[in-house]
């Protein structure tokens, strides 16, 4: 336990000491929140769809966690490139424990970021539908953080250079976010887009968040929870498998 705590603490310490990392991962969601929340919100209301901010905030929280999780993967890559991982891997601690401690640290960071975005959106006028339901929303946030941090860790274990990581970032993260239900309702979009978005696990994470925070859902909460759980199992398996295969 002490070992996992120490590895967790390492990640959290690094996070709290680097303000650029904080701004780096919060900047983009904040920008979207402002530009879309205020900019498109007015049109959205005119179109008779209601409060766009209430619709958007769960999506932006998901984006924050997605970015933060992948960003955190960079730390594993950094450890790999700059030698610290060698130090970790020759200690008498199993790889699973190393991954677990570090990934829990990464998830904690994502959760804090998600909560920060939630607080900021409150300042912008967002109100949760029911305060009691913020608790299950927090649970979704935690599960989402664990999944997406695992995804980041798995990817980072596979690639060996920062350019490669950047490429994956562009090829995977951007579509995962834009081709999900984070920004627009899936009711009226063209069929191909709706199909793609329905295959994207991020859509279900956003949808579950939306269910608890804004009382709307597209897929239904049961389906959301099933997909989220499967995604978590798959991403953790992926991370463990890839991390075990790292060769120094």
């Amino acid at each position: 336990m002490e070992i996992i705590y120490a590895l967790w603490l390492r990640q959290v310490r690094r996070y709290t000491r680097s303000s650029s990392r904080l701004i780096g991962t919060l900047g983009q969601p904040l920008l979207l929140l402002l530009a879309l929340g205020y900019g498109i919100g007015a049109i959205y209301r005119k179109a008779g769809e209601g409060d766009y901010l209430a619709f958007l905030v769960p999506g932006i929280i998901a984006q924050t966690v997605l970015l933060s999780g992948i960003f955190w993967g960079l730390i594993i890559l950094q450890d790999k490139r700059f030698g610290f991982l060698s130090e970790l891997l020759v200690t008498p601690v199993s790889r699973i424990k190393i991954l677990l401690g570090s990934a829990l640290g990464g998830s904690t960071i994502s959760i804090i970021q998600g909560i920060l975005i939630f607080i900021i959106s409150m300042a912008l006028g967002f109100r949760p539908y029911d305060w009691i339901l913020v608790l299950p929303a927090l649970l979704i946030l935690i599960v989402m953080s664990i999944s997406l941090t695992s995804l980041g860790a798995g990817i980072a274990s596979m690639v060996n250079d920062f350019q490669g990581f950047q490429g994956i970032n562009n090829l995977l993260i951007t579509p995962l976010f834009f081709l999900s239900s984070a920004l627009y309702p899936l009711n009226n979009v063209p069929k191909p887009l709706a199909i793609i978005s329905s295959c994207n696990p991020i859509s279900y994470m956003v949808d579950a968040m939306r269910f608890f925070l804004s009382n709307t859902t597209h897929f239904g909460i049961q389906k959301d929870l099933i997909v989220i759980t499967i995604t978590m199992v798959l991403t953790i398996t992926f991370a463990v498998d890839r991390f075990n295969k790292i060769e120094m």
């Binding site: 120490a6 310490r13 680097s18 700059f82 060698s86 130090e87 891997l89 008498p92 120094m248």
Partner: protein, 268 residues
Amino acid sequence: MSKTIIKADKLVKKFGDFVAVNEISFEVKQGEIFAFLGPNGAGKSTTIKMLTTMLHPTSGILEMAGHDVTTERDSARKTFGIVFQDPSLDEELSAFENMDLHGVLYSIPKKTRYKRIEELLKLVELWDRKDTMIKTFSGGMRRRLEIARGLLHEPKILFLDEPTLGLDTQTRNLMWEYVRKLSNEKGMTIFFTTHYLEEAEDIAQKIAIIDNGKIIARGTTKELCKETKTETLEEAYLKLTGKTTRDESSADNNGLNFKTAMRNRNLR
């Protein structure tokens, strides 16, 4: 000076069909200072990686203080400390935090841990900088801290992989003086690699030279010189390994660095 602490028997490591280490056997006695020399790409790093459990041998037996590195990996890991060729500190943690994390990973109880960290940091003259972030440390300071860290769990064997690379003469002398002391006073076994042959000649009690994955000579400096009819270790070394330069490439890899070649092969 009689107990064997590192034992390698017909050790082989293959990457695909490339044989990096080809049936090498050697023994290191407890308390010995052992130098492992060879040109770039000869199999030195691969051997060290197998010794330190970072790579699995393809075949052969490898024992550290009586523990087989493949079947009793964690016990084997507790027996050695290592200073890597490349820096391996967490830049964004302080010197003390780096030491402390290492101590936790080796399950050293808190009280003992703090006491030893203080002793070791004083020894390498970094105690007054213990709360400074590593980012601001010079190369020499980092190396000293890495040595202190490698000793924290009181290993029986200390691996030093090109430890003096890029260090100034003062730090280098200080480091070797300290290494000698460890070996004399604590009976610690030292296994090191270097490209500075004067260092090996000065410090090592036993030397093994590896080339093309095979150990081509072993013994004391005197024995090696006698065998090759030369005056210094450097001359002996050059006579044994030839005067041409190598890099980690060969004709079969189209002249590519070995790691790159392997990666390309995997991609194909």
